[in-house]
Assembly symmetry: C2
Homo-oligomer: 308 residues x 2
Amino acid sequence: MSQPIKIGIVGVGKIVRDQHLPALAKDQDYRLVAAASRHGKVDDIPNFPTIEAMLDAVAELEAVSLCMPPQFRYDAARTALTAKKHVFLEKPPGATVSEVEDLKTLAAHNGVSLFASWHSRYAPAVEAARAFLSSARIRSAAINWKEDVRRWHPNQEWIWAPGGFGVFDPGINALSIATHILPAMFITSAVLDFPENRASPVAARVTFRTSNGLPVTMDLDWLQTGPQSWDILADTDKGAMVLSGGGSKLAIDGKLIHEEPEAEYPMLYKRFAEIVRAGVSDVDLAPLQHVADAFMLGKRNVVEAFFD
Amino acid sequence: MSQPIKIGIVGVGKIVRDQHLPALAKDQDYRLVAAASRHGKVDDIPNFPTIEAMLDAVAELEAVSLCMPPQFRYDAARTALTAKKHVFLEKPPGATVSEVEDLKTLAAHNGVSLFASWHSRYAPAVEAARAFLSSARIRSAAINWKEDVRRWHPNQEWIWAPGGFGVFDPGINALSIATHILPAMFITSAVLDFPENRASPVAARVTFRTSNGLPVTMDLDWLQTGPQSWDILADTDKGAMVLSGGGSKLAIDGKLIHEEPEAEYPMLYKRFAEIVRAGVSDVDLAPLQHVADAFMLGKRNVVEAFFD
């Protein structure tokens, strides 16, 4: 086995504590050697206030995981890539498509790997759904992603700021799965609901069409209390597919055919190690492109103010 | 000289009468053989209500120019490419970036040429500005595009509809020049002003940064009466560049160094004939990508209602 990759983590918030640290702790491909964050800290390793301070002090670093809000990711990524460190980008990979294109160019120029991570693509039943759909004739598909923002993103002001994506923050997870399992598609119409006191939408209804003319709908709602829905449905000649639980369970005609424990972040870090060892990048911008297209094409509704 | 390309024009409105018909009339590379439009007509050739009717009736057609509003361009382009006709897309090339990517794939698959035309790139002083900037060290740049929508787009409802771009309809002309003469750049912030009764912005202030950290600003305003501004300014070590008149005049430190008569559409059709003869496509999506990024990242202001 190769030497572990010496990695630093930047932006120590909820997702780092919930997902990144547990995944890294169990993975022999990595050794976590430092962290940088304005507020958060990681126990038992050196902590720094900024990525610049971390890179200056910890020469052995080979890679960094960037987990701050997307509005601040570009500068950190540029700093790390310029210092010839491999870079893992939390999702979404940036605040604009063009800035991530720029990072791709910089990574290639500096001979390091860039990874635009889409954790939901590594949900346990996604590959089974992809295999099923590629063997079937699809008639239509529907993406229903409805959750309670107060439960999953309590008091996260950045998510409501311009560039914070609003309900497209979970919606981009749905898109990262849909663009992996469905044929190429593009948006034909969209309606985005903006709370009157917020810069980002709380709900959206989007219609897509695939290259071969199939209709795909996407319904995003951030005010869903009670049961939460993270489902992709497809009507096919081989039955009605339901990929539910954010990609964790696959059923055909009501019969559960695939379910296993969730391991998205361990799979993401496995993939990152693979591309670092292989000397390549993995940057698929299709999910982010659809979000940008939805904002450009979408009709804006103003709805009731939102308070946490 | 080769045989003229037998071309049909679709969506007969103001831009077709003002620009496409005069350019085609003078160009021996083309023979205009048919037109399709819901409302407009072209004299002395067969006219049809739809592109489908035109393609069915006029078998000799080799190419089509698609000039309807962007919201309706994809379906027509798909129909034409599927019938193995070369396609000239007026700007903007589509309502989303993803749909134009889909058209590129289809054109390649059918062995025909697709042209995403950006007429302002062919303004007379643009190449001189590009040459100047590539020989100078740029410190900063500013795009100022301020015009009177009531004068240039009177009662054009589609331009205010979702997907109609609003002030980014002229703004994308500025971007088509800027992305051609300046280094690669991306948006870092944007503010978009939406009239309270309209779905598209009437003004926008956008800041970009180039890969090497230079600041670029863009100021779009659709309520400018009196003198109109379509200018790109750059502060450089070789002097202050002003490319004015939508790319028609170039001055350095106040001295006019390039001015010649405007011939954008004749140049566009020359380029289209070139790519058709060469069997290639020419589809640069950078200007449209920046618009999508501005809508995604931008802060929305609601401003006074707009009435024509």
